[in-house]
């Protein structure tokens, strides 16, 4: 692979290749180093956490980073085109990470950059390094990734992380439980795709009844701005909060994931249970990004 743009582009083999490399890097069985490489980080839309994760990954690989966050004070603000910005910055660096609100912009950048490009989020479309770190977290905690029972809770309509996770997991014969308020259901286009791929899924409105069946619960935030009717938001927001007392009859291998940041959808009391895995998941993001950078830089040499 030359670039990391979308989970849709990836074969099962390519996904596993990233997961295996991340595992070797975490266990120090592999210590790739790129002291002569510079990573340019272009965040047209700010996200401190994702930016830090990429910067940390590159620094652990002994590489260097140059960062632009937001477009204030840049040549683009002076009227330079997106294409010219990409073509110029790509001459300063060996690998580029881009985040932008414009959907498809990172794929376009990859077509004109001439160096490996990583998509760190393009609007509502894709955020493939997030999906890979989610998969890595599942694989690591479940001793395998095939045939897992996974509940996804919260905003399934707009959640980009949810859509990428569903796409990525589809290679590994999962059974899904989709738990959301009615008008934040997984869109029909995604359900149709699951039907075509013959993947089992169930839709439900309650968290508690499904918990004992689960290997993984992936919780996402329900944002107030997604609701036209604020009363409706007030009604549903508390029915999708995970509390410690709900975790009585869980499987031993059960783990809770969350792409973070969390607001109130997981009660802080859950953090001290052995099922909370979201901060480990964030740490896994660094290993998977080290793996992504290494594989793409090696491929470009």
């Amino acid at each position: 692979m030359k670039h990391l743009i979308s989970i849709r582009d990836m074969t099962k083999k390519e996904i596993l290749n990233f997961l295996n490399a991340a595992e070797k890097i975490e266990k120090s069985e592999m210590r790739p180093k790129f002291p002569d490489s510079i990573m340019s980080i272009l965040f047209f839309e700010p996200s401190t956490r994702t930016r830090f994760s990429f910067e940390t990954a590159m620094k652990k690989l002994s590489g260097k980073t140059i960062t632009m966050s937001g477009s204030a004070g840049t040549s683009m603000e002076k009227g330079e085109s997106f294409a010219d910005t990409i073509k110029t910055i790509s001459r300063y660096s060996n690998i580029m990470v881009i985040r932008s609100a414009i959907e498809g912009s990172v794929r376009y950048a990859a077509e004109i950059a001439g160096i490996p490009v990583i998509n760190a989020g393009d609007g509502a479309n894709q955020h493939p390094s997030q999906a890979l770190l989610d998969l890595y977290s599942i694989k690591k905690t479940q001793a395998g990734i095939e045939n897992k029972t996974i509940a996804i809770v919260g905003d399934l309509k707009y959640g980009r992380a949810v859509h990428s996770l569903v796409d990525a997991m589809s290679h590994f014969a999962p059974e899904f439980y989709f738990i959301s308020p009615r008008h934040l259901r997984l869109p029909k286009k995604f359900r149709d795709e699951l039907d075509r791929k013959k993947i089992k899924y169930n839709e439900c409105a309650e968290i508690e009844e499904v918990i004992p069946a689960l290997d993984i619960m992936y919780v996402t935030r329900i944002q107030r701005e997604r609701f036209v009717d604020i009363e409706e938001y007030e009604k549903v927001k508390n029915s999708y909060v995970l509390k410690p007392e709900m975790l009585k009859n869980v499987k031993n291998n059960f783990k809770i994931l969350h792409p973070l940041p969390r607001v109130n959808e997981i009660d802080c009391g859950v953090d001290v249970t052995p099922y909370a895995y979201y901060f480990d998941q964030a740490e896994n993001g660094v290993y998977i990004r080290q793996a992504i950078i290494s594989i793409l830089l090696e491929g470009a040499q």
Binding site: S6, R8, F82, I102, G104, S105, D122, N125
Partner: protein
């Protein structure tokens, strides 16, 4: 061949088996000149469907670009080239797997609507049709597909 209710033409193109009611949509994507002579049949009896539309254009043969666009509106259309009242070539339209610069992405947040990027769509399903944008990856069904105008230079 059954006698058509629309007058025969000497030279030109007949587009047959257009879904009933879609003839105007097909006409819209053909870059017709003021001088072009066109006959349109709407809601004609058809053996293939209950009803169909039909278009005859005098002294004109269609470009590949135009045929690809027609295929999106009328996937079962036949196109006959007429020379001296004889059908010299008859072909069915075929939706190509990849459509470059033919569809306008309906996602206003898509890079193809904010930068001068040529659109590219992949046909993921044919019946009913579903296409997916190469850039923003959104998929669109038959009613959501917006066909781009034919660039003026491509028209003879």
């Amino acid at each position: 061949m059954k006698q058509l209710k629309v007058d025969a033409i000497k030279d030109g193109t007949v587009i047959d088996h257009i879904p009933a009611g879609k003839a105007m949509k097909v006409l819209n994507i053909l870059k017709l000149k003021d001088s072009d002579v066109v006959m349109v049949g709407v809601n004609l009896a058809s053996r293939k469907f209950a009803k169909k539309d039909l278009i005859k254009i005098e002294n004109r043969e269609l470009s590949g670009d135009e045929v690809d666009r027609i295929a999106l509106i009328a996937p079962d259309a036949n196109i006959s080239i007429i020379r001296n009242f004889e059908v010299v070539k008859k072909s069915e339209v075929n939706i190509p797997e990849k459509l470059s610069a033919i569809i306008v992405c309906q996602n206003h947040k898509c890079i193809t609507n904010t930068e001068p990027v040529t659109t590219c769509f992949y046909v993921e399903a044919r019946n009913p049709i579903m296409v997916r944008c190469h850039y923003c990856e959104k998929s669109f069904g038959a009613d959501e597909i917006k066909i781009a105008g034919i660039p003026v230079l491509a028209v003879n």
